[in-house]
């Protein structure tokens, strides 16, 4: 490409982005909208959340990054789903899309829908169409999020109590100050760090594990239906990791919530998740129950992931690693995104991106290799 052409292309991108930004800003300014715009129906009332062909794009200066491109899955009530994949495969972006916390106007939900089942209100809403004011009522209340870095997720200049009670007071406007404090202490007790004067401590006076417990307490304080945990244990050391995971599992059952657990740690998933979604370059390559994924992995990428996991009692000189890197998210190829790193390619892989095919009722994979298996079974 000559320099002139390149300049022309960048100009076009800028123009296109400006249009997208304008639309976005226009939508953001609407604080309220009529209910008919965002109330929908769940496909299955047993689900707490349904992702339907979700597309989240980032309109950057060098082109559109399709961080999440057509992702569909659902989370059942009271179940834990693990979302796995390498860095940059769109796990976190999926979760931020649910929370409506994408860095706008660059990052936007470009298509599809996220249907959320408001069990208490007996209705379902499409989060992608929700106006700001309605979103604020759901965030932290019905859907809450636990972030990756406990060291930086708490505001350094406010006390733990301030930050905990703020959340409770916000979603329970009728609660008295005394009750709010009692509730804050109760959540701290739930996460096992209730101590005298705890509410008056600043985040820097706590260790990483304790801070993560505070973050979890904050997330649980309003009894959410869905907890999104974005790599909740990555920044913690191994002993604390196990404690935090146990805690999450225990609390989930206590308040009967669903968990969307985002991680790249297969061990964590194996321990926690009922269902697993494997993502690669913004798409789902395989999904199924924990048993399907761990004992019958079907996609070459999942198989690679399993192989690169260290096993106890097994001696290897070198841990397996999948060759190559995640493809450039701008200008993704037409064919399967994993093709260049795949060791099991067939001729058909040169063709269009493979559709998701069902191997069993729960197990789905998008790979040409498995087409024959399905046909054989039929």
């Amino acid at each position: 490409m000559t320099a002139k052409e390149q300049k022309q292309r960048l100009k076009e991108i800028k123009k296109f982005n400006a249009k997208k930004y304008k639309e976005y800003n226009k939508n953001q300014r609407r604080k309220r909208a009529p209910e008919s715009e965002y109330v929908t129906k769940m496909a299955d009332n047993d689900n707490i959340i349904e992702f339907d062909d979700l597309k989240t794009y980032f309109y950057t200066d060098i082109g559109t990054v399709k961080a999440v491109d057509g992702v569909s899955f659902e989370i059942k009530r009271g179940k834990t789903i693990g979302v796995v994949g390498e860095s940059g495969c769109g796990k976190s972006v999926t979760s931020l899309s649910v929370m409506g916390l994408l860095q706008g106007p660059t990052g936007q939900v470009a298509g599809g829908s996220i249907r959320f089942n408001q069990v208490g209100k007996n209705r379902a809403v499409d989060l992608t169409k929700l106006p700001v004011k309605e979103y604020e009522k759901i965030r932290g209340n019905e859907i809450s999020m636990i972030f990756q870095e406990p060291m930086t997720t708490l505001n350094p200049v406010f006390t733990i109590g301030d930050q905990l009670m703020e959340c409770i007071a916000l979603h329970n406007p009728n609660m008295k100050k005394k009750d709010i404090e009692a509730r804050a202490l109760e959540t701290l007790e739930m996460v096992g760090i209730k101590r005298d004067g705890m509410l008056d401590l600043y985040p820097h006076e706590l260790s990483g594990g304790m801070r993560q417990r505070v973050v979890i307490a904050m997330a649980l304080s309003c009894n959410p239906q869905l907890i999104i945990a974005d790599e909740p244990t990555t920044a913690l050391d191994v002993t604390i990791q196990a404690q935090i995971l146990d805690l999450l599992r225990e609390l989930k059952d206590k308040i009967n919530a669903s968990i969307m657990l985002i991680t790249h740690d297969l061990g964590v998933v194996a321990e926690m998740a009922d269902y697993v979604v494997v993502m690669y370059a913004g798409r789902i390559v395989e999904q199924g129950t924990a048993d399907d994924i761990f004992h019958h992995p079907a996609h070459p990428y999942t198989i690679g992931l399993m192989k690169s996991k260290p096993m106890l009692g097994e001696h290897v000189d070198r841990l397996y690693s999948i060759p190559g890197n995640v493809p450039n998210p701008i200008n993704l190829p037409e064919h399967c995104y994993f093709k260049n790193r795949c060791e099991m390619c067939v001729d058909k892989c040169e063709g269009a991106y493979p559709e998701l095919i069902s191997l069993s009722e729960t197990h789905k994979v998008s790979c040409y290799l498995r087409e024959n298996e399905v046909k054989g079974e039929n």
Partner: protein
């Protein structure tokens, strides 16, 4: 905390001592002393008379001797007598302080009140037209020379529209009393304050904007949003308290400038303030005044940094002394 302050005060005295040596040496090393300046060009003055005058003013001693005698007096609270005004230095400073302080204080308050909200708005709408406009005005304010900007304003508001006086502090021979006098002062100070604010706002505004941008991308701001807080509270409470930390240090550093005055602005508008007097004293070689004034600024600078350090601990719980 108390121990920290005591330590800081002790260190401050050492710094003051060193600063005074430096200031005195520089002031005395300037070519052409006070005597040469006042008697220059007068044919009736003989070198002997000059010599006698130097002895009288204490300018015959060397830098070291002169400094020692200045320091002795200063330690007894006597900053000497200004050569030019023939009054104690402290009195001279006192009598010229009011206009400078008024000008700088009002401007500083206005700067803070304007720079912080504008900086926050610019950061919130980064890369938008609003952002570009605010930043452009800020940069224009920094880059416009005050004498040029002052001239433009005077051409427009004083000569063109005739609504504001062109210079000075009061209308001569008007003899206003009470409230009328206050209004008269206010009118005379409007233009200098505008020039001062526009010139000074840029730095603080850009500082606020950069800090806000940094804080807005912080994880705890995302956490605040994830709690469901409305944007107004996310910015006004969680983000603002954190941007305040660096701003406090900057505002503490602005305290000495309250008294040092804007030499140029005061000069343009012929305001009888400390800045102008200080400039005169440099021209004349009025050593006692120069020393007194500079030491006063040095003390204020040290107090300013101490205050900002203490405030730093107040706004940021992680800082403990």
């Amino acid at each position: 905390m108390r121990q920290y302050i005591i330590k800081r005060v002790v260190v401050s005295f050492i710094v003051l001592f060193l600063v005074s040596i430096l200031l005195y040496s520089i002031a005395r090393s300037v070519p052409g002393d006070y005597v040469a300046n006042v008697t220059g060009g007068n044919p009736n003055i003989t070198p002997e008379m000059q010599q006698r005058m130097r002895e009288l003013y204490g300018l015959d001693k060397g830098i070291f001797e002169g400094y020692v005698s200045w320091l002795k007096d200063a330690l007894h609270g006597d900053l000497g007598t200004s050569f030019k005004y023939q009054k104690p230095v402290v009195e001279v400073i006192k009598s010229y302080m009011a206009p400078t302080f008024a000008l700088a204080f009002i401007s500083m308050v206005l700067e803070i009140l304007l720079a912080i909200p504008l900086g926050i708005i610019a950061a919130r709408k980064q890369y938008s037209m609003t952002d570009y406009t605010i930043v452009a005005i800020a940069i224009m304010g920094i880059s416009l020379p005050s004498f040029f900007f002052a001239s433009v304003l005077r051409r427009w508001l004083s000569i063109g529209l005739g609504i504001l006086p062109i210079s000075g502090m009061v209308t001569a021979r008007a003899n206003y009393q009470g409230f009328d006098l206050f209004i008269d002062y206010a009118k005379h100070f409007t233009l200098p304050i505008i020039v001062f604010v526009i010139n000074g706002i840029g730095g603080l505004l850009r500082y606020v904007r950069t800090n806000m941008l940094e804080v807005l991308s912080a994880d705890y701001v995302r956490t605040a949003r994830a709690k469901g807080l409305p944007e107004r509270k996310v910015i006004g409470k969680h983000a603002f308290r954190n941007t305040l930390i660096p701003i406090v240090t900057m505002v503490g550093g602005m305290i000495p400038s309250l008294f040092s005055g804007a030499v140029i602005t005061e000069g343009i508008f012929s305001l009888e303030g400390l800045g102008r007097v200080a400039l005169d004293s440099v021209y004349n070689g009025d050593i006692p005044y120069l020393m007194g004034f500079n030491m006063f600024i040095a003390v204020l600078t040290l107090i300013g940094t101490l205050i900002s350090d203490i405030l730093y601990a107040v706004v940021d719980p992680r800082v403990r002394y």
